[in-house]
Subunit: 501 residues, 2 copies
Amino acid sequence: MQSNSAYDNLCERFKELDRINHAITYLNWDQMVMMPAQGSQSRSESIAELAGISHGKLTAPEVADWLAALDGVVLEGHQEFTASVREMKRVWSNANCLPAELVKEQIVAGSACEMGWRTQRRNNDWKGFVKNFKPVVELSRQEAQLRQSASSATTPYEAMLGLHCHGDTEAMIDSVFSQLRTVLPDLLQRVMDKQGSLSVSEKGQYPIDQQLQINKQMLDALGFDFTAGRLDQSMHPFSTGSAGDSRITTRYNEGAFLEALAGTAHEAGHASYEGSLPEQWRGLPIGESRNMCIHESQSLLFEKQVFYSKAFMGFMADKIHLSMPSAKHLGADELWALGTHVEPGKIRVEADEVTYPLHVMLRYEIESDLINGKIEVDDIPELWNEKMQALLGVDTKGDYTNGCMQDIHWTDGAFGYFPSYTIGAANAAQIFAKIKQDHPDWQEHLKTGDVQFIRNWLQEKIWSKGCAFQSQELMQSATAAGSSADALIEHLEARYIRSEY
Amino acid sequence: MQSNSAYDNLCERFKELDRINHAITYLNWDQMVMMPAQGSQSRSESIAELAGISHGKLTAPEVADWLAALDGVVLEGHQEFTASVREMKRVWSNANCLPAELVKEQIVAGSACEMGWRTQRRNNDWKGFVKNFKPVVELSRQEAQLRQSASSATTPYEAMLGLHCHGDTEAMIDSVFSQLRTVLPDLLQRVMDKQGSLSVSEKGQYPIDQQLQINKQMLDALGFDFTAGRLDQSMHPFSTGSAGDSRITTRYNEGAFLEALAGTAHEAGHASYEGSLPEQWRGLPIGESRNMCIHESQSLLFEKQVFYSKAFMGFMADKIHLSMPSAKHLGADELWALGTHVEPGKIRVEADEVTYPLHVMLRYEIESDLINGKIEVDDIPELWNEKMQALLGVDTKGDYTNGCMQDIHWTDGAFGYFPSYTIGAANAAQIFAKIKQDHPDWQEHLKTGDVQFIRNWLQEKIWSKGCAFQSQELMQSATAAGSSADALIEHLEARYIRSEY
């Protein structure tokens, strides 16, 4: 076979898959945001049909032939050729390395576990949960071993990481967490000693339509283009979509407004990345976002580095007061104090910037040992309590609801996802440190709500690269260093100890 | 091949197509109602991909084999078998009888003509329009001839009718129009002589959020289930969806509210039909709605027979006054007078119930002669003017914008659709006459906003039948007569001459 035509065939096939996946993306969005309850069965069947067609086209024998024809080939005039084929192989291999029987068993076990979890969590019913959860873990261990065999991963867990954090090794992630393990508990203690108790409260009456208007104004400032995207409401905030059509959702609370704004800023980061991927590689694996550690760095940069900065909060305070008179008693300083208040607690999704990595560290330690076969499901509650006590000084004994049963991730076997939250935070701090170095007047910009200099920087160094580079090559070329916790620790010191921004 | 397994294979294939078409349906809805402007290219590509997959699966050689294996077969224990296979063959034949090359040429010519029409109509530019329109007509004539060869249609135009009005012959449609041609112009004159000029005006300030609330209350009364459907806004009102997930849209005008309400009632009729099709045949051609003449009868029955009745208007007046104080000067009698005011005009979509069939008759006469090769595109303007003058006493000479260029239908070759509006109106009147006969207390029900007796009747006689019967069999079994203009004429006499309801 001509390698030229093999590559063309692969490109055509992946673009075909992209057109089918477009449909799945927006059907999923509709299901979460628009669909009435009774639509759910037909919708699931339709999505499953499209996913089956897509999987069939990806794993068809001719795709293996085309990829084999390109082994070791270098194509003239295609600079990105090697990276493009590498990414095609990665996507193909992820879809190919599991037997259909295992995938089916996982879907059945995972949805039974997730469905049960919804009530078991509420009822603090660990025993009931374990019955469904053990088969999920057993199947995930099989999956991890099969993925390891098909890859260069050094452990089964690292093979699972490859799904979400491809290119970021267990060794690198270990080193970030080991740095944080040494520094964070002490830093947390110093923050707690310094900050004292809050003298203001956010509680009030904040009409949803006014909040909505402010969220839209903030999105405008953050560079979100409403001719290429929408902002809606859903139970669980998320962002999805593709270039030209980003869909962000936020959840509003009439009694508080900061969390919704922070959530919108966060999703704006995700949407900006997805919406700015290289047009010339549209529909090809090389044109996709790099991995979740990079993706989460974009959302956290918009949320933590930009939205929660004193400078941008000053800009937002004016907008807030103008559209929502009931928030006038909260000046820029008060808003910043509220937004950066630190308080160890049981729940990850409610955690502040300082304690959040400790929640993730605990999950990372448990899930990696679980998948690598070093611990068993029955060991989890005790380990959870010990680690919560050691890392956060919080007692969760007997409280499964707010302890080891609080997250949905593990219920359907999504192991290897959690670390991306903290590697993402580390990457965000590292990237923003470089942006500040390149733009010493960054606070002047943020004071006026101008983030274009950040968008330009990210566009050049991250967004335009797609998957042309591995994640650590991307971090190296953008920040002159691989991912580490240095910048995150410095960011937390500067914001929470020295109150600099 | 075993005929049993051929039928099972066909059922599985059609259900597969249904799952793909589900995706296309909601992607189209999203495009019209939700999608930001820049999403349009990817969306078109995705829909085209799915349509291509669907078409490929329908026209695959094995489908022809399965259908051939069932020729003349009667299957025990499958009462609906014959009808089911007949409808499968119809859908298959519609997709198969055109060469791919012609379909492509039609898409190109049709979208060029439609795109051009958007500005040419505004500019009254018939000459410019004709350049794009002639190839569309030429290709439609080829299509009509091919469809005729593949069917039992007696003329090329009847073959086109088969796409939208399957089962309703050109002869039957001719006879309805010939009845109306004799009666309507005189009836219109008598209505105009009788009604005098309107003493009230609808003009006012009607906030959209209040209108929205009233439209939702009306949908509740009409039996629309919001756990199985949505009401949204769009430029051009439409309804789409499937059982469990009906999507209706309405367009609101701050200065008037009756048109939006009538539109919502109309779409509720369409949605009720689609949402109540037989569950046991879901995904099969036999489980689909019958044809557009029946579909339009359901929407017009909800709009004309129910919404515009004095009884239901009285019920609505209370709702309107409660939610929208600015409409309090319009009592039930005034609302009915406004809603049933007759006024000949140039524009079909603005026409009242009495003049609307005349607009359709004109289009039917022109498009049937055009497709059957009796007239040419250049003859249209003069014919249009003559017929407008003769049927409605309206002068459109030189005004192409509000004359023969006002509709979008012909621009992409949708010939054979127009008649369904008037056959639908005739069917609606005929069905409602039977409902009134079966429920002499119908006005008492409508006065309290109760339409459940109508829904039950339609459910039993129309909705639950899917495509098990041909359209005229359906009309016969439901009303004891085939479609004619009798009931429509009687309805217009009763409402517009005798002011009965």
